[in-house]
Symmetry: C2
Subunit: 214 residues, 2 copies
């Protein structure tokens, strides 16, 4: 993908101008990197990635409320043949985010608090066609492998969503035509899978993992 001697062509996708300037400052000073373009939205990143020829895309995940998510953009970009490598660069390292990014075809997952050397190292790794995970992220993935995936069932997510909307067990049971006992049973399972012990902490955990709509 990258010819030796030719610089690595980069696309920066982040909604924060300051962060883009920082990435440019950090990466453009490397002799073998050249920042070709910036995108302030995920949609724009997809456009640019299709129109121009990049080696690596640095992709944020959050692009403000109502905007396309970085994961969708990553999937859209990597779906094409001869697509650039996508390095996800975000603030948070939640399981759901990491898995979603990897599933979407990301070549790496970095945290924004990473030191510049780690950043440029990861870009080189990705440009060479290999995977680049931040140490902290790799650690989380290992953790997850050890503990078997606890996916919530459709019904459980349905109940959890209503809990997040602020409904009581009583209200949920009416809404879903269930008994309160059943709602409680679902909640017990949800708490176990999320590793929490109350509805509010379940909502907090689910929010962080983006299991429910807010």
């Amino acid at each position: 993908m990258t010819r030796p001697g030719a610089p690595v062509r980069l696309l920066l996708a982040d909604d924060h101008p300051v962060v883009r300037a920082g990435l440019r400052a950090v990466l453009d000073t490397e002799e073998d990197f050249v920042v070709v373009a910036e995108a302030a939205t995920a949609e724009r990143a997809v456009e640019l990635a299709a129109a121009d020829d990049f080696d690596v895309v640095l992709m944020d995940l959050q692009f403000g409320p109502g905007r396309m998510h970085g994961c969708e953009a990553t999937a859209a970009i990597t779906a094409r043949t001869g697509a650039p490598r996508v390095l996800v660069l975000t603030t948070y390292d939640t399981d759901a985010d990491i898995l979603a990014a990897v599933e979407a075809g990301a070549s790496g997952y970095l945290l924004k608090d990473a030191p510049p050397e780690e950043l440029s190292g990861a870009v080189r790794t990705a440009a060479a066609g290999q995977s680049a995970l931040a140490p902290a992220v790799a650690h989380r993935l290992m953790d997850r492998m050890r503990t078997p995936a606890q996916a919530l069932t459709r019904r459980e997510l349905e109940v959890l969503q209503l809990v997040g909307d602020g409904l009581s067990n009583q209200q949920i049971s009416k809404q879903l035509f269930l008994s309160q006992a059943t709602v409680k049973t679902h909640l017990v399972h949800i708490y176990a899978k999320l590793g929490v012990d109350s509805r509010t902490s379940a909502v907090a955990a689910a929010t962080v993992r983006r299991l429910i709509r807010r």
Copy 2:
């Protein structure tokens, strides 16, 4: 505070190297600004602000788990006589954060997704001894003034934030060094102001109105 002709001396306080580089890139290119130092922690920012002579400090709020919060640092810095102006620069614009920052003595509150011009403009405003609020932030404060009925107090927002984080009354009381009775009292007031009757629905309402950080 600032002599005409002399450059504005800046201190950048943010735990993300990339963001610091971005701020430096954006601000250092302005002729009348000079970035004198950077701090990767709030503690370090307080030290530097006391030791050296700055005009404006750009202060992040979140410095990673377990670290001093930007608000504390802001209070510590502005408490001294002849202290520099502190501009809070953060990702979120929740009521609780804004109020806490202003109360801590911040001269302004900016969002990280602000365009560079807004950033440098705010720095100049702060250096001139005036207040600088991002338009989005100012709008929130206006909203809050207009509808005093549902205005939560600073303490109530603090409690509500912890509720949203999934903490029990017991945990909240320990965290804030209160009795559970006091936490309950605050909750009663919060429920009344938000027009709800349970913690989860309070969190749902607060999320919609962006009263708390999620």
